[in-house]
């Protein structure tokens, strides 16, 4: 195995990168300026050292607590629970939510060996009980695992004086009824909203 094959093998371990794509990436880098390879290597080496998890919300950050947890302007009464750290960025980019975050670290999936104790549910309940949280928004994917986790958290949060909500499920904006699957369509009917004039 030479350097080409080793780099290709490493690239093909990344999600969504097959053997062919990995080869294309390797050749692209090889044919390009060595400075690109050096920059990429440098960033890779520094990544785990520079980026840590926020000790409050669990998202990735260079400072602890993260900028969102440290920001006094954010609404502490709203707590948005997400599966993974990268979901925080996706939601931040939508510029709709002004509260705080909590990263669960996964979804309950017993068949894949992910149980409630593997998630940051304890810290979540602590945060809910100690702070003036009024609403917990479960921003979890509308999948079997997401639904299971919503049910589980809903049961636990019943003991606290908080409202528990989840994100609306329905047709994507710009989408087409014709291409919507049966379950999405059913949910969009159940969650239909009044048209205000």
């Amino acid at each position: 195995m030479n350097g080409l094959d080793r780099l290709t093998a490493l690239f093909s371990k990344l999600p969504g990168i097959g053997k062919k794509t990995a080869g294309r990436l390797t050749y692209h880098i090889l044919e390009g300026d060595p400075s690109y390879a050096e920059l990429l290597a440098e960033q890779l080496l520094g990544l785990h050292e520079a980026i840590k998890r926020c000790s409050i919300c669990g998202s990735f950050t260079e400072t602890d607590p993260c900028p969102i947890c440290a920001d006094p302007g954010r609404d502490s009464s709203l707590l948005c629970v997400v599966e993974r750290a990268q979901d925080v960025r996706v939601i931040e980019e939508a510029k709709e939510f002004q509260g705080r975050f909590h990263v669960l670290g996964g979804l309950i999936a017993p068949l894949e060996g992910v149980n409630p104790r593997d998630l940051t549910i304890g810290p979540l309940l602590n945060r809910v009980s100690q702070n003036k949280v009024q609403e917990v928004i479960l921003a979890l994917n509308p999948t079997v695992e997401g639904d299971t986790t919503v049910l589980y958290l809903q049961n636990l949060l019943r003991d606290f004086n908080v409202e528990v909500t989840r994100l609306a499920s329905g047709l994507p904006v710009g989408g087409d009824l014709e291409y919507a699957d049966r379950l999405t369509l059913a949910r969009s009917f159940r969650g239909r909203v009044k048209v205000t004039p």
Copy 2:
């Protein structure tokens, strides 16, 4: 811009990697074992030093000449001309061709500023004239640029005592007539072969 953003920006410069995919790769590496990032960085740093171009055929190799050019068992009367170094690997994997290779380094594309003098055409003619090459197989893509390059090389090679061929164009194995485009179908008719009983 933090380490996450910088790595994402670098990944998104790779071919076929958009901003979203680049982000997913970065988070995957961040959530994974730091040893993977270190291995990847190491291979990137060593790549350009370890892999050079073969001084005979122009393909990527750790030794010069490359294993194919150095192999006395390969048929020197067959010379396969390819566009890029990675094409050598693709053809080798098909285990059909036992001759030697020549990497052109591109295809003639005047609109993109690639002229014949940018390609290794001089060295190709040298190899053809100095060695006992009997057939030059032009294994170039069946595109406008490929066809242009075939025509150009065909004209030049007319002065030498060699047969010039190109790869058959037609329906892909396992493909479906219904999904073949008009030009491919036309070529597959022109290149139809006798069915031997």
